[in-house]
């Protein structure tokens, strides 16, 4: 690569506007040189600056009694969980890299999110993955799924952090633009918290980890564009991950943070060296000066522009107290890592970069890091919205066999068991996994440091968000919360990954804004502040934008092992009870999509007050020891939830069944069976506790239905005596367990 003259064309090519360029000139008091232009373009890209989303992200509640570090202040938020312990967690997207190179794209996504967590001083103890693909009937989709799962498996297993949960949806909307969102959670003692700040004039700036190559130059700007044939040409920006290097970095950094030799630490993620230097300086209210010739380099002849913008993986920046350098170098040496002292902290607030002694960049760090323009994009309600909402679904015929529909839904890869995926992930290493993937609505981890446990899950139904972004956004939070409640946890806080199309399109921005408002409202209602997250725009393929998909990662706290509850029925004779309303429309359901090929309709009624009551009644009953199993009713509705609680109930061939009779209804039966009304939890209780549960729910104004009993071998569902479904568990279990695998082999 060669240095170029800065012209307006070049500015535009860098994804900056003419106005932004003027602003840059006024910050500098002169024109930027080529390198500085590159630096501004990555820092002011959508990916790094959130210039199109920041205005709306401010709507999220971010404070609460447990918040120790707020969203946006550092790489990730920190939440107090008592006993002197805190957790840090975050979710991030790696959609575009994964579309181009699924294995490495997903692998480096895992690497990136792990660095975000240990840079806070937390030891990462869990990963989750939230994935969206097109339909598996397409060979290319199978290739993508295979590559993404292998990539996550490769990186997560090697570094030794269990992937304990996640979710996958398959829908044509994601074809050609898969979503790969990854979540990491870490734990620390309060006093081990580390911050990404550079301060103390004269302190040393260390570069540690992998050498810099020409990887991913303009990765950040690449993530801020739509995918098209041109992206193919940009393929060199694909990076290769090295989980072994990251494992060494992780151990070395955590060991280092046990000393008090470190002032600040920050990972080099998007926009690499550029971002980490100007952000640490800006947060620390200081300046920073580095010499690029001292940066370890993998390739020959790199120019400053390339070194500064490279997104090579597995690198960290560490600000070390003056005089403590030897101690720090000894720790890196122990872990066979090369650490280079590349500069020092200054007091003039400048990000100054030298190359062989020659000044190549001089920019006020704070303005570079924080003063990117913020835009309020135009938005407009799309035409489809009212049309779908008012669509008359009464003409849709009832299926001829409810049993066949049940099997079809259970074998639908979106609903079917994801064993083929999670068995490729080490989900047990670190030996905390009390509730493993596939067992319940959320994962549960014990903590070796205290009696409490954590429950966690990611969730989002993009179809709901398409049909009604505001309600869909609320539901994403509500369902995530319901999932951890079913495990016996009190929801603590959330992180979000907002996957949308091109924000310059007004109708897309309308979806974005409404989802954000829905999420913000739900978070206020559930008192679960947002601790951080990520925005991924430009998720489009030639046919248009993906469904709006604001993935919510949630973490809940369980007080005691006794409260841990799973989704499976436990014993024949136990009573099956529904907490929440029984009737449901079919709008927006997986049933409507799978059995009738329709993505439309008004979503079933959603009342957040009712949702809160259902959740708190369920949690209270769990804590009082009255509930033997609890399962959230989601995709596939009541019938699928019943089937799952039966199937999950057995070890190997001894699955349990159930016999339930639904109360007479004037509503459509496919809706009652397969509709996806929210605010519903399927529980089973000991016969002696039925009265108590019934009274308690009613007293708290939660609808409650005694549906039937846990049995052996068969699932029978009738409605006021008339049999609707009667299937052998062995048969439906086979469909549920094997469908994803048979699609993939």
């Amino acid at each position: 690569m060669k240095e170029q003259e800065v012209t307006l064309d070049l500015v535009l090519e860098h994804g900056l506007t003419e106005e932004e360029y003027k602003l840059i000139c006024s910050i500098l008091g002169r024109q930027p040189n080529f390198t500085e232009l590159g630096v501004f373009s990555v820092m002011w890209s959508e990916h790094c600056s959130y210039k199109n989303s920041r205005f709306w992200l401010k709507k999220f509640p971010t404070t609460g009694p447990r918040i120790m570090v707020k969203a946006g202040d550092e790489n990730a938020g920190i939440i107090d969980i008592g006993s002197g312990l805190a957790i840090s967690f975050k979710i991030e997207s790696h959609n575009h890299p994964s579309a181009v190179e699924p294995f490495q794209g997903a692998a480096t996504g895992i690497g990136g999110i792990i660095r975000d967590i240990f840079t806070m001083g937390a030891r990462p103890i869990a990963l989750m993955d939230s994935l969206r693909f097109g339909k598996l009937s397409t060979p290319n989709v199978r290739r993508l799924l295979d590559g993404v799962v292998r990539g996550i498996s490769h990186y997560g297993n090697c570094i030794g952090i269990p992937t304990v949960g996640g979710e996958i949806y398959f829908d044509p909307t994601y074809e050609g633009n898969p979503l790969v969102n990854v979540f990491c959670l870490g734990i620390m003692r309060h006093e081990d918290m580390a911050l990404g700040r550079a301060s103390g004039v004269g302190n040393s700036v260390y570069y540690v980890g992998a050498a810099t190559g020409r990887d991913g130059i303009h990765g950040a700007t690449f993530a801020s564009e739509e995918l098209n044939e041109k992206s193919e040409e940009r393929r060199p920006s694909v990076q290769v991950g090295d989980p072994f290097m990251e494992k060494l970095l992780l151990e070395a950094c955590l060991e280092l943070l046990q000393t008090d030799a470190v002032v600040g630490i920050q990972d080099m993620g998007a926009a690499g060296l550029t971002c980490s230097t100007c952000e640490t300086a800006s947060r620390g209210g200081a300046g920073i000066e580095i010499e690029l010739a001292k940066v370890p380099q993998r390739e020959k002849g790199m120019i400053p522009y390339e070194i500064l913008l490279s997104e090579s993986q597995e690198r960290m920046l560490v600000i070390v107290k003056k005089g403590r350098e030897e101690e720090v170098e000894a720790i890196f040496n122990k872990w066979d890592l090369h650490a280079a002292n590349i500069g020092h902290v200054t007091d003039d607030g400048m990000m100054r970069v030298l190359f062989n002694g020659q000044k190549v960049v001089e920019i006020p760090a704070k303005q570079l890091a924080e003063d990117a323009p913020i835009y309020q994009r135009e938005f407009k309600e799309p035409a489809y919205y009212k049309k779908c909402k008012s669509e008359d679904l009464s003409a849709i015929a009832q299926p001829s066999s409810y049993g066949d529909i049940l099997k079809k839904l259970l074998g639908d890869p979106t609903i079917a068991d994801k064993r083929w995926v999670y068995e490729q992930y080490d989900h047990m290493v670190i030996t905390n996994t009390v509730v493993a993937p596939g067992v319940s609505d959320a994962a549960v981890l014990r903590l070796k440091e205290c009696e409490k446990l954590l429950a966690m899950k990611t969730d989002c139904n993009g179809r709901y968000c398409y049909l009604d972004p505001y309600i869909g956004g609320m539901i994403a939070v509500a369902e995530a919360a319901r999932n951890v409640v079913c495990c016996g946890a009190k929801p603590l806080a959330i992180t979000d990954c907002l996957n949308f199309g091109n924000p310059m399109k007004e109708e897309i921005f309308w979806q974005f804004k409404n989802c954000v408002e829905g999420i913000a409202e739900a978070c206020r209602q559930f008192e679960t502040p947002v601790t951080g997250g990520n925005v991924s725009f430009y998720n489009e393929n030639p046919r248009g934008a993906v469904d709006p998909t604001p993935v919510i990662g949630i973490v809940g706290l369980i007080d005691s092992q006794d409260h841990v509850t799973t989704a499976s029925f436990k014993k024949p004779g136990d009573v099956v009870i529904l907490l929440g309303p029984i009737e449901s429309g079919i709008g927006g359901s997986e049933y409507l999509a799978i059995a009738h090929g329709k993505k439309t309709g008004a979503l079933p009624e959603f009342d957040i007050e009712l949702e809160k009551r259902v959740q708190s009644v369920c949690l209270k009953l769990i804590r009082d020891g009255k509930i033997k199993s609890a399962h959230d009713i989601s995709e596939g509705g009541l019938a699928v939830a019943l089937a799952e609680s039966c199937i999950l109930g057995g070890v190997d061939s001894t699955a349990l069944g159930a016999s339930v009779d639904l109360p007479a209804t004037s509503q459509r039966l496919d809706g009652v069976l397969f509709g996806e009304r929210q605010s519903r939890i399927l529980i089973s209780v000991d016969p002696s506790d039925v009265m108590y549960v019934d009274d308690f729910a009613k007293n708290n104004n939660v609808p409650v239905y005694k549906l039937g009993t846990v049995e052996n071998e068969r699932l029978q569902i009738s409605c006021s005596g008339k049999i609707l479904i009667d299937e052998r568990i062995a048969d439906i279990a086979k469909v549920f367990r094997s469908e994803l695998e048979s699609c993939m082999s």
Partner: protein, 88 residues
């Protein structure tokens, strides 16, 4: 006729090779300091039945491009020779 295609797939020169690096470091710590660089790749041997050398060659290239090689990060070289002694 039968042909054997030997295919060597390597990472493009600018792509990070974590395996190669780690092996190099290991060799250095074993005292083999004169090994200056290590790059790792894949080797594949395909036995192909075809009417002519040209057809076998075309097929081998086709298979490389479609399945065996990931053009995003890899390149390959191919050599073909007729299998002497007929069928194995």
């Amino acid at each position: 006729m039968e042909f054997v295609a030997n295919i060597v797939v390597t990472l493009k020169p600018s792509v990070l090779d974590p395996q190669g690096n780690t092996v190099k470091e290991a060799l250095h710590s074993m005292g083999y300091n004169s090994v200056e660089d290590v790059r790792m790749g894949k080797f594949m041997e395909l036995t192909i039945s075809a009417d002519s050398e040209q057809k076998a060659l075309d097929l081998a290239h086709d298979v490389c491009n479609r399945l065996l090689v990931n053009p995003v990060i890899e390149t390959y070289t191919l050599s073909l020779k007729a299998q002497t002694g007929g069928a194995v």
